[in-house]
Amino acid sequence: MRCLYCHRRLEPELHLLNLFTAPGPLCGECEIRLKEWRRGERCGRCRRLMGEGESECRDCIFLKNRFPPVGKIMCMLDYNEEVKMLMHRYKFVRDIALAEVLAQFITVRKRDYDHFVPIPVSPGRFRDRGFNQIIEVLARARLPHSSLLETGKVKLQSELSRHERMNSANPFTFNKEYRDVRLRDTRILIVDDIYTTGITVHHAAEVLLHHEPAALDVLTFSKA
């Protein structure tokens, strides 16, 4: 067994607690480094690192004025240097093994939600990358997914400036294949990889809220 992040051999010390469980995909050192949160004052809702003298998160204020409200916003990891490297390797070098690493950090359980909705990637992007980075993680965390959303957009969020993101039109549409699935009064979780301004997940939420779910929460792997 190898640590899928640093590729060193895993030689976990056996003790009563791990004797009957399969070893994880990470060595202890990498786990500590990935889990580290940068110090500083954070927004209580989206956990953004706030600037000095900022009493309320300006991103959350903007979103509150512009979009219908969503429920909880959860995120698993900070966007520290290690996580940044991991995301780059996962999405752009296509080191898909890292989906196992990300899956390890998911604490949401299957019974908590009725639909786990991944943010879609466009067909063009899918051909380049070869996979949807969120579905792969959900699958490795043994969670089902419902692709309720579709997108045709080609440009990456990370290629847009902050201003362009704030003012872009909603890129998501409802996937017709799910037309007959009842969504009213169900619990939906939107899953995205990196939460930067929050525009992406709120665009997705906007589409899904038309179907009047009982709860609509957001899970992101990392908070930039």
């Binding site: 067994m1 190898r2 899928l4 590729h7 051999r9 480094r33 580290e36 520290n80 240097e81 290690e82 780059h88 390797r89 070098v93 296509r94 080191d95 898909i96 093994a97 899918f126 051909r127 070869g130 996979f131 949807n132 579905i135």
Partner: protein
């Protein structure tokens, strides 16, 4: 030949042979270093190599395309702002000789001997004779520094620069890159100069050492530069060793002073160790700067939290985004106490610097020699103090002091 998607040679149908568990690019055949998954795009199982994932994915569905190696002579001049010392000139001649006679060479030079300047003449000779040259190091920091200094001296040459994520490519005649990037080359470079051969991860990685040999032409030469050679390097050099026991400014290396202290115990009681505090006080009143080395990041952060009495203290570690900024601020004197792990053991130079190593009993001798080499690197401040705080004396501490004393008396020991 080198791998390049714009090339015209179809080297292999696929980068990875999923049956034999072999990566054709890095020659990895360790089956634990492959990952297999079901690809939703190809609708079948795909296997890829984890060993060389850092330079792009080599997998069982993508062909390996390569381009033919070319060689081209160029007029190659460089500028130096100072004259080399006699011993540097002798070393420089030795490098040229190694390149000309296609021999390997081990350049065993004390830290701060001016190693980079010594290879200039060898590079010039190689380029004027149409030989492809690579200057490589396992560490990104060192690669960046080398590129800066080489492109500053060889103003007219086009130098390729490659490390994870950054690529400035011309024709691969004169390349500065990390050792990992050599996986892309087969039988291409006539001269590979390896700086800091003993640094992590090259030292313990046989695949990576293999990459150096794979990238080298049959008659090419490897030139190894290090302050802490191992038997393996001696063997590789075939006994062709040149030693420099003196720093370029001619002064002795500082001999570390040993203090017995238990910084961890004090830390657990919520105090800064008295001896450490006294040393820091002394250094601050003399108006000097100090690097404090810690064996682990967690301990460094905790001690950092206890240093409220000192101004201008910062901590850097490998995952720190502001790492280069902080090092720069230390140079400018904005930060005067910099806490660090072994990431700053090589490749950094500060003026008026002292060094403190905390819990020295955890450090191996070659790391300690590098750490001691941080002080007194500038002719304006040719000495400096090194303090080892340790629980007990170790073989590695004694070996460090023995080797430094040997350097000072003009001998080099392996």
């Amino acid at each position: 030949m080198y791998f390049d998607s714009k090339g015209d040679i179809l080297y292999k149908e696929a980068g990875v042979d999923s049956v034999k568990n072999l990566c054709h690019r890095c020659l990895n055949n360790d089956k634990t270093l492959f990952y297999e998954f079901h690809s939703p795009l190809h609708q079948k199982k795909v296997k890829y190599c984890l060993n060389c994932i850092g330079i792009g994915r080599s997998d069982s569905v993508t062909p390996l395309i390569a381009a033919r190696s070319m060689s081209r002579r160029e007029e190659c001049g460089y500028k130096l702002h100072f004259e080399l010392t006699e011993i540097q000139k002798a070393a420089s001649r030795k490098v040229v000789e190694a390149v000309r006679e296609e021999k390997n060479l081990l350049l065993h030079a004390v830290t701060g001997a001016g190693k980079t300047e010594i290879i200039f003449e060898g590079i010039k000779y190689a380029r004027e004779n149409g030989l492809n040259v690579a200057v490589v190091s396992p560490r990104i920091d060192v690669v960046k520094e080398l590129h800066l200094r080489l492109s500053g001296a060889f103003k007219k040459s086009r130098i390729d620069l490659m490390f994870a994520g950054v690529k400035v490519k011309f024709e691969h005649h004169f390349t500065v890159c990390t050792v990992h990037q050599l996986y892309n080359f087969t039988d291409h470079f006539d001269c590979i100069i390896v700086d800091e051969f003993d640094a992590f991860p090259l030292a313990g990685d046989t695949h990576l050492q293999g990459a150096v040999h794979k990238a080298l032409t049959a008659r090419g030469s490897i030139i190894i530069m290090t302050a802490t050679p191992t038997r393996k390097m001696l063997k590789l050099a075939g006994g062709n060793v040149f030693q420099i026991a003196r720093r370029y400014h001619g002064h002795d290396l500082a001999i570390p002073e040993i203090h017995y202290a238990n910084v961890r115990r004090a830390m657990e009681k919520g105090r800064l160790d008295a001896k450490l505090e006294r040393l820091l006080d002394g250094i601050m009143t003399h108006g000097r700067k100090v690097l404090v080395f810690f064996p682990e990041i967690k301990m460094m952060h905790e001690v950092h939290g206890l240093m409220g009495d000192f101004d201008s203290v910062e901590a850097v570690y490998s995952g720190d985004a502001a790492r280069y900024v902080k090092v720069q601020r230390m140079r400018e004197g904005d930060i005067r106490i910099l806490l660090t792990t072994t990431i700053l053991e090589r490749g950094v130079t500060f003026r008026d610097l002292d060094v403190i190593v905390v819990h020295t009993e955890y450090f191996p001798a070659d790391t300690l020699i590098q750490i001691c080499g941080r002080v007194g690197r500038k002719p304006q401040d040719p000495t400096g103090n090194v303090h080892f705080l340790t629980l007990y004396n170790t073989h590695h501490i004694r070996a460090t002091i023995r080797k430094i004393k040997a350097f000072n008396s003009g001998r080099t020991v392996l």
